[in-house]
Structure formats: C-alpha cells, structure tokens
C-alpha cells in the first residue's frame, strides 16, 4: 500500500506535471495496449519494425547527438548484429535468444574497433570515413558468397516467438528497455561528459577527462544497442541480407536522428514513430507507392525548413517553458514556477532548452 501510494505520488508529481512526460507515458501505455485493442497482424508488423528502427535511431543519437561523433556508417553495427546472429543460428543451429546476445556482442566489438580506428579523426573526416566501413563489410560479404549467402543473404531464420503478438511484445520491450537505458545514460554524469566532448573537446581534456576513453565507451555502447536492434530485425524478418548494411540505411538513420532532434534520445524515437508508419501508410495506396520515398523526402525537407533543430525540441518549446531562476521545466500554461514560484512570464533566455545542440 505504501509502495502504491509512493508510486502514485511519483506519477503525479514527477510525470503528470510536465506535458512532455505525460506524452511519453501515454505513448508507452499505448504501445503496451496496442495488440489488445488493434490485433491486426499488418499493424503489428509495422509497429514491430518501427520499434526496432527506433532503437537503432536512438543508438545513433547517443553517438552522434551526444558525443558529436557523427557516424555516417551506423548501418555497420545494425548489419553486424543481424549477420552475426544469423550466421550463428544458421551454421551453428543455436537458439535465437543466445544468438541475439552474440550478435549484440559482435556489434559491440565492432563498435570498439571503429572507435579505435576513428580515435584521431574529427568532424567531417569522421563522418566520411565511417561511411566507408559498412561498404567494406558489404564488399567482403559479397566476396565470400558461400559463407555469407552473397546478395541474397541468409534466410530461413527462426523467430523468437511463434505469434505476431509475441514478436511485437519482444520488440517493444527491447525498444522501451534500451531507449530508457540510453536516456538514463545520457542523463547521467557520463552523458554530461559526452556533451562536454561534443561542445569543446579541448576544454574537456583540459578539465581532466580522458576523452579518448569516453569516446571508445560511447562507440561500444551505441554499437551494442544498434546490434540488438539489428539481430532482432534479422530474426523478425527471418533474413539477414546486405540491405542491413546499405548506405541508404545509414542515411535513413541520420535523417531520423536529426529530424527528431539531435541529442535528445526521445527525438529520433519520435521521428521513427512518425515517419516509418507514415511511409508504410503511403505505400498502402496503389497510386502512391511509387512516390513514397519522394513524399518522405519532401516532408522531411519541408519540416526542416520550419524547425531546423528537429521536431521534438520545437514541440517541447511550445508546450513547456524553463524557469528563469531555477532552470526547472514547467508546463507552458503555468504562471509561476512549480518549484521556486518565480514568475514564468519573462521569456528572456528561456528559448535555449537545457539540451541545446550547437
């Protein structure tokens, strides 16, 4: 009873006071209830894919948005997870639960290797060099078609659960757990160091932070989550093909990340949940399916012209304000700060959110 009351108090005082947190709660509840309310296999399939891509996009944000290591080859980790898991379960016949973990481990190792490789690179050099990595991997896979399945990839993998609902819950739970985990990481001291590295690496180093070690760690962490998404993706679609390493996928994740708002974690997730079902929905019209990518790109471009920082920072500025005195966030309709009672009418300096990339 005590715990229940404490939970209720937490809910009321920490979550429901802020519209953005309320939205997140509503979204998580909707995800949990979806198969009960709308058990259409097609819808479930799309939302499952959305969940996997959301994990992937959030992992890119951890690396690019927070640490400023703008990775153009993030598909490498996704593909590594997918291929490692698929190869193990195809050649070794191991249960998919184990191979997913193994896939994530392989992706993490690759993340470490990439981090080591890119230790001395900075800015655009890093972006363009990492773009090459998944392509090198694709070239290697194509050169040994007997082992990797060549252009067709490895098909006929086992699913994690037999039913569509089961698969959906696995993907949704994995997504919620990893996104919440990444959000916690980004909100901890570790995340603070990452902000420092992005904004001014020299100053961070001068303050006694071993930036090289932090960058390695964030590469590994980001690759871990991307690898989980990739491995689950391979087992959900029952095929791991070269499309998981494509340049298009790497670019797609950059679009999601920046469209949603960099350095937020929830931004890319929101972007995937808006854009992926939107493109699928467009594809369901016979006449529009050819124009799908065109409309997608045009929408991204148009939205970007109005909200160059991404949609979630824009939305958050609309529904919340920052207290000028204690820097706490408040719902936009409050007149006084919920903590220190300072008047919120003055908007001087409030336009800069707490997370202000660049």
């Amino acid at each position: 009873m005590f715990l229940l009351r404490r939970a209720w108090a937490n809910l009321r005082n920490e979550i429901l006071v802020l519209p953005s947190r309320t939205l997140v709660l509503a979204w998580a509840l909707a995800l949990a209830l979806l198969p009960l309310v709308w058990p259409d296999p097609y819808v479930l399939r799309i939302v499952t894919m959305t969940c996997l891509f959301a994990t992937f996009a959030a992992s890119w944000d951890l690396l690019a948005g927070f640490a400023g290591q703008v990775n153009f080859g993030h598909a490498l980790f996704f593909g590594a997870g997918a291929y490692a898991s698929a190869l193990l379960s195809h050649h070794g016949g191991i249960s998919p639960w184990i191979t997913v973990c193994a896939g994530a481990a392989v992706a993490t190792l690759l993340g470490l290797a990439t981090g080591l490789l890119c230790r001395r690179l900075r800015g655009s050099y890093l972006s363009l060099a990492t773009l090459a990595l998944p392509l090198i991997a694709t070239g290697l896979l194509f050169a040994f078609p007997d082992f990797s399945g060549g252009e067709l990839g490895i098909s006929g993998l086992k699913r994690l659960a037999a039913s569509a609902t089961g698969n959906y819950y696995i993907a949704a739970a994995a997504m919620l757990a990893s996104v919440f985990g990444m959000w916690l990481i980004s909100d901890s001291n570790f995340g603070l160091v990452l902000h420092a590295i992005r904004d001014d690496e020299v100053a961070a180093r001068a303050s006694g932070i071993n930036t090289a070690r932090y960058k390695l760690a964030v590469f590994a962490l980001s690759a871990l989550f991307a690898g989980v998404a990739g491995a689950l993706y391979a087992h959900f679609l029952r095929v791991a093909g070269p499309s998981t390493l494509e340049v298009a996928l790497s670019f797609q994740v950059v679009i999601w990340g920046i469209f949603g708002g960099a350095a937020t974690i929830y931004g890319p997730v929101a972007a995937v949940f808006l854009l992926y079902p939107f493109t699928e929905w467009l594809g369901s019209f016979q006449s529009l399916s050819d124009l799908r990518l065109l409309i997608f790109a045009a929408v991204v471009l148009a939205v970007l012209l109005f909200m160059p920082r991404g949609i979630t920072p824009w939305l958050r500025d609309k529904i919340e304000t920052q207290c000028p005195r204690c820097k706490q966030r408040n719902a936009a309709w409050r007149a006084l700060c919920r903590l220190c009672n300072a008047p919120l009418g003055l908007r001087d300096g409030c336009d800069l959110g707490r997370y202000n990339p660049r």
């Binding site: 703008v70 490789l117 001395r120 690179l121 900075r122 655009s124 050099y125 972006s127 363009l128 060099a129 773009l131 090459a132 990595l133 392509l135 090198i136 694709t138 070239g139 290697l140 194509f142 050169a143 001014d200 690496e201 020299v202 100053a203 340049v247 298009a248 670019f251 950059v254 679009i255 920046i258 469209f259 960099a262 050819d290 124009l291 990518l293 065109l294 997608f296 790109a297 045009a298 991204v300 471009l301 970007l304 012209l305 160059p308 920082r309 990339p357 660049r358």
Partner: protein, 289 residues
C-alpha cells in the same frame, strides 16, 4: 593487362577528379557536406539523355543545355533549401540527403527504374600502346583535363577566384574586407555543380544511366576527398588518380575484383587516415573552439 589498367585508371581518375574537386570547393568555401553532389551528376546524365534521345537535339547543344539546366537548378536549390538553414549544420546535412533522394525518386518516376543506354556520341577507336581506346572514352579524359584547367584558371587568374580562395581561408576576414561571402558561396555551388554535371554528361554514353547511379560515385568521391584532405583541391586531384588506379587494378588483377573494388579503395582511404588523420594534403587540425 597493364595497358588496360593504365588507361582505365586514368579515365576513372578523370571522372572522379571532376566530382571530387567540385565537392572540395564547396566544402572549403561554404563548409557544406553536399551529399546531393553526385545526384546532380545523375540529373545531368538524365537531362542529356532526354534532350538527346527524346527531344532529338544535336549532341553539343544537348550537352550544353543539360549542364546549364542542372547548374541553374543547383543555384535554385541552394537559395531555397540550403540558405535558410545555413547556421544549423545538421539541418544542412539532411537537407542535402533529402534533395538527393528527391532527385532519385523524381527520375525514377519520370524515366522508370530501368537502365538506359545513350547511343555513342562519337565513334572510332584510337590505338595507344597496344590498347584500343574508343574516342568516347578519350573524350572523357580530354574534357576532364580541360575542365580542371578551367577551374584552376578561375581560381587563380580571376578576381572571383581570389574571393573564393580568401573566403575558404577565413570567412570572417573575407567578409570584413568587403567580399559578399553569400555570393561567393553561391558561385562556388554553381561551379562545383557545373563540374559534376559535365562529368555526368561525358560519362553518360559510356556507362548506363539509372536513378541509383549517384550512390557508388558518391562513396568513392567522399573517400577521395577525405584521402586528399578536405577542402584541398590538389589533394582531391591526386586522391582521384590514386583511387581511380586502385579500382582499375582491383578489377583487372584480383579474382572477385568487381565486388571488392569499392572495399579495397575504401580500405586504402582508411589506412591513409590512420597514418595521417588530416588526409594527404589537408591542413593539420587546428584545435577549433
């Protein structure tokens, strides 16, 4: 085989040099990583195809019209899409990606996803050191050399070139000295896309034209630019020749070379970056703040 490698490498290198020099120019002056650069190359190839095959224009006028149209389009895109979000680096980046996707899909809708061939614009073969080189391929080399020389002349022999180099060197100081840096950036975009468009037009009769033809050269071009040092034109030129030859050698000398051609070229780029993080001719990083 050696002669094949020598000639193919030189021709590949010429095409890559046209693309990479233009990309470097825009990066150096405006700090834009223009992912849509090779999409303009694709657009020019399509434009040339449409004018030549469907509209039935003469070769020279079709080529000139294609280059002009694509250059005008690029300036328009810069004004409408890139300039409003210039101060948000990330937004510029995905704006160029989105533009590239839009061009790809537009061409897909307009011409279908098939490979289109353009009839040879000049016939005949010249024999050089025992290899037969069609005039068509020789034309690529000649045009590439001429255009690179013209770019050099613009940059080092005109007032505009002086302004471009000054802006690339230090944007604020150039602006303080009264140069219109916005117009300089626009001129750079125009020059760079014109180079890409010329590459697209001369390459079209040799390669096939399809909506996804921008991806492979994009990756190689980015590798070249990084290899040579971002923003360094000399580096781009030499990088283009290096990777052109590397690709030719892999294709001709390795088994499964056609699959590995990209991988080997990119591995070389990474090895160079490991030894010299600023590329061959790049300036060492000043610790930016």
């Amino acid at each position: 085989m050696l002669q094949d490698i020598l000639v193919t490498g030189l021709i590949n290198g010429g095409v890559y040099a046209l693309l990479a020099v233009g990309f470097s120019l825009v990066f150096g002056v405006a700090r834009i990583v223009n992912i849509a650069h090779t999409a303009f190359y694709m657009l020019a190839a399509y434009c040339f195809y449409a004018l030549l095959v469907h509209a039935g224009l003469a070769v020279a006028s079709a080529a000139a019209a294609a280059v002009l149209a694509v250059t005008a389009l690029s300036v328009l895109c810069y004004k409408l899409v890139i300039e409003p979000v210039r101060e948000h680096e990330a937004a510029v980046l995905i704006a160029t990606i989105a533009l590239a996707l839009i061009f790809q899909e537009l061409m897909q809708v307009a011409f279908g996803g098939n490979f289109l061939g353009i009839p040879a614009t000049i016939s005949g073969v010249v024999s050089l050191a025992g290899v037969n080189i069609p005039y068509q391929r020789l034309l690529i080399l000649v045009v590439a050399a001429a255009m690179l020389a013209a770019t050099w002349a613009i940059l080092y022999r005109t007032r505009l070139g002086l302004a471009i180099r000054a802006t690339a060197n230090d944007l604020e100081v150039a602006s303080l000295l009264g140069m219109n840096v916005h117009r300089v950036a626009m001129a750079c975009v125009a020059i760079s896309v014109a180079l890409a468009a010329i590459a697209g037009v001369v390459v079209a009769p040799v390669f096939v034209v399809d909506p996804r033809m921008w991806l492979a050269p994009l990756v190689t071009m980015l590798a070249i630019v990084v290899l040579g040092g971002l923003g360094s034109l000399k580096g781009s030129l030499i990088g283009a020749l290096i990777l052109g030859y590397v690709e030719a050698i892999t294709v001709f000398a390795l088994p499964a070379g056609a699959y590995l051609k990209g991988a080997v070229a990119l591995t070389i780029m990474i090895v160079v970056l490991l030894a010299r993080p600023e590329g061959l001719f790049g300036v060492a990083f000043e610790e930016e703040r």
